[in-house]
């Protein structure tokens, strides 16, 4: 891919980001920050892509740390967001992870 193509993608993605977020109600700002936070954990792909090219103990060690960090970011981020959002549903069951069959009565 050429640099120009990639910059075009970058610019379009920026507009998508602005557009999607400008419609979020205040209420959902915390889960949203947490959710977008999980998405940038995608950088874990960089660690995966570079691992086979790594030379020496230092680079291997660094990439294992990078993958671990990225995984914490992704897995932790999505789980925490899910827990937070689970609380926004109006229901009798106290624990959010039980069921999400209550689509209809979400308020």
């Amino acid at each position: 891919m050429t640099l120009v193509t990639e910059i075009a993608i970058l610019v379009l993605a920026a507009f998508v980001g602005f557009e999607v977020i400008s419609k979020v109600p205040n209420t959902l700002h915390t889960p949203l920050m947490s959710g977008t936070n999980a998405i940038h954990g995608i950088v874990v792909l960089g660690g995966l892509l570079l691992m086979h090219e790594a030379n020496g103990v230092l680079e291997h060690f660094l990439l294992v740390v990078a993958i671990a960090f990225g995984t914490i970011n992704v897995v932790g981020g999505f789980l925490v967001t899910d827990r937070m959002l689970g609380m926004f549903k109006r229901k009798e069951v106290p624990k959010p992870e039980e069921i999400e069959a209550s689509e209809g009565d979400a308020k």
Binding site: E6, S34, G35, N37, H40, G41, V43, I67, L79, L85
Partner: protein, 474 residues
């Protein structure tokens, strides 16, 4: 499986999977904009992440080398072992710190990947500028984000003092550090001889910069800082994507960068602060501003749960203004009980939600939602402010700076101009507080000395429970 591995490894197929992945991110994120679709939106985004990881593992040569898959598995296993219990166990009140920490490790991953990418490409002496510039950008921004987020975590977790920590000439030092980062990066990008340790120097300078930028920022500004660092990590991930020619990274990183910027601005606007002013350190002239001891504001009036219960029970309308104190005391369920007890007596109860009450925007909404408070009772600042004049009693639970009338009346106050909940317009104000200590921003609050204000000292949860018991006994 019908498709042979050869087909699966075709570049087009993998690129298509990346397109599926980022479409899922965008679709998922638009789901996150409404309470009804948010849970599903988050899951869709997570599914997108799974697709992106699978696509990466299918890329030719990525799994080559005997130890490669094992080292990857090791990294993922460590990440899951740390991330899952942390996410499961964290209390809703500690959510802002958790987000700061998750953001920090993301930034750390970006910085480390940039380091390895640099080492790897530098050795043969060939590193096209198209990859090198984004790599250096990612190294600097990732490192700033990692260290800055850790400091933010330390401040919110109260490992570090929440007050601004300032050095003389802070702004100049930051400027010099930033210049060192940029100049070193330029030297590296234009140099031809081996400078393998140079990148470590850049990472260290950026680390120092991350520390120095966040340390002088007061705890009250922390949500804005976390949001800003979140956007930074997104941008650095996008830069990594350009260096590695990976569309999923570019799109996902940039969306986070863009949305994070918007969120940061929304938050800063709600506090009547500008992002540059926050980053420049502390509350503007905090050193010269009057501190708690400087002005004699007269005595405060303290009250008892019995008196508060009577005040509330015979009111027509009361407003509850929660703040970080409610979060710390885990009082949201007790507050909901009180609301029910009052409603049973025919009192109309509403909640006033300041956009930056607590430590993050929407923090109070999350906590009150946890306690099953219906959405329609939560009123945003602009909706509730005209209501205060019709309100008999306002119950301020652990909120301080967001109710501080000095923001309107005292041009010398560091928070002058910040929009506040105008609780002082209501008939009476009851403030639940642990002690007379000032708020997170470290600013005295004249509301407490107002003639119609009474204070109930003690743990918010216990105080609210006692009031509820008294209301039910009446």
């Amino acid at each position: 499986m019908i498709a042979p591995a050869v087909f699966l490894q075709r570049a087009n197929f993998i690129d298509s999977l990346y397109i599926v992945a980022f479409s899922l991110f965008i679709y998922g994120m638009s789901g996150l904009t409404g309470p009804r679709t948010a849970v599903r939106g988050n899951k869709i985004a997570a599914a997108g992440m799974a697709v992106a990881v699978v696509a990466t593992l299918l890329t030719p040569h990525v799994l080559s080398g005997g130890s490669t898959p094992w080292l990857m598995a090791l990294g993922v296993a460590i990440g899951v072992a740390v991330g899952v219990p942390a996410a499961r166990r964290v209390q809703m009140t500690q959510m802002p710190q958790m987000v700061a920490l998750f953001n920090g490790v993301g930034g750390g991953a970006v910085a480390i990947i940039a380091w390895v990418e640099y080492r790897h490409h530098f050795a043969p002496g060939y590193f096209p500028l198209k990859s090198e510039i984004p790599t250096l950008f990612a190294a600097i921004v990732g490192s700033v984000s990692f260290w800055g987020s850790n400091i933010a975590f330390g401040k919110l977790q109260e490992i570090l003092p929440g007050r601004p920590i300032k050095l003389p000439g802070q702004t100049i030092i930051n400027g010099v550090l930033f210049a060192i980062c940029v100049v070193s990066a330029i030297v590296l990008a234009t140099g031809t001889h081996s400078q393998a340790l140079f990148i470590v120097g850049i990472l260290l300078a950026a680390a120092l910069l991350g520390n120095m930028v966040v340390l002088p920022i007061g705890g009250a500004d922390m949500p804005v800082v976390i949001s800003l660092l979140n956007a930074f990590t997104g941008l650095s991930a996008a830069a990594t994507g350009i260096a590695l020619n990976n569309t999923a990274l570019i799109v996902a990183g940039m969306i986070v960068g863009a949305s994070g910027t918007i969120l940061t601005n929304l938050m800063a606007k709600a506090m009547n602060r500008s992002v540059p002013a926050i980053v420049a350190g502390g509350f503007g002239g905090a050193v010269a501003a009057p501190t708690a001891g400087d002005i004699d504001r007269g005595p405060v009036r303290s009250t008892s749960p019995q008196d508060v219960a009577i005040q509330l029970s015979y009111a027509r309308q009361i407003v509850i203004a929660p703040g970080y104190g409610m979060a710390v005391a885990q009082a949201q369920h007790a507050v909901r009980e009180l609301e029910r007890a009052l409603e049973a007596r025919g009192v109309e109860v509403k909640y006033a939600i300041h956009p930056v009450a607590g430590r993050m925007p929407g923090h109070m909404n999350v906590l009150l939602a946890e306690a099953d408070v219906p959405y329609d009772l939560l009123r945003e600042m602009d909706d509730i402010n005209p209501e205060f004049s019709r309100t008999d009693v306002t119950l301020v639970i652990g909120a301080n700076d967001v109710t501080n009338p000095a923001a309107k009346n005292e041009p010398g106050s560091p928070i002058y101009g910040m929009p506040i909940l105008e609780v002082d317009k209501s008939g009476a104000v009851v403030v639940l507080k642990r002690s007379m200590a000032s708020g997170f921003a470290g600013i005295d609050n004249p509301l407490f000395y107002d003639a119609k204000t009474s204070l109930l000292f003690g743990d918010a949860k216990q105080s609210v429970s006692e009031i509820t018991a008294e209301v039910q006994a009446l």
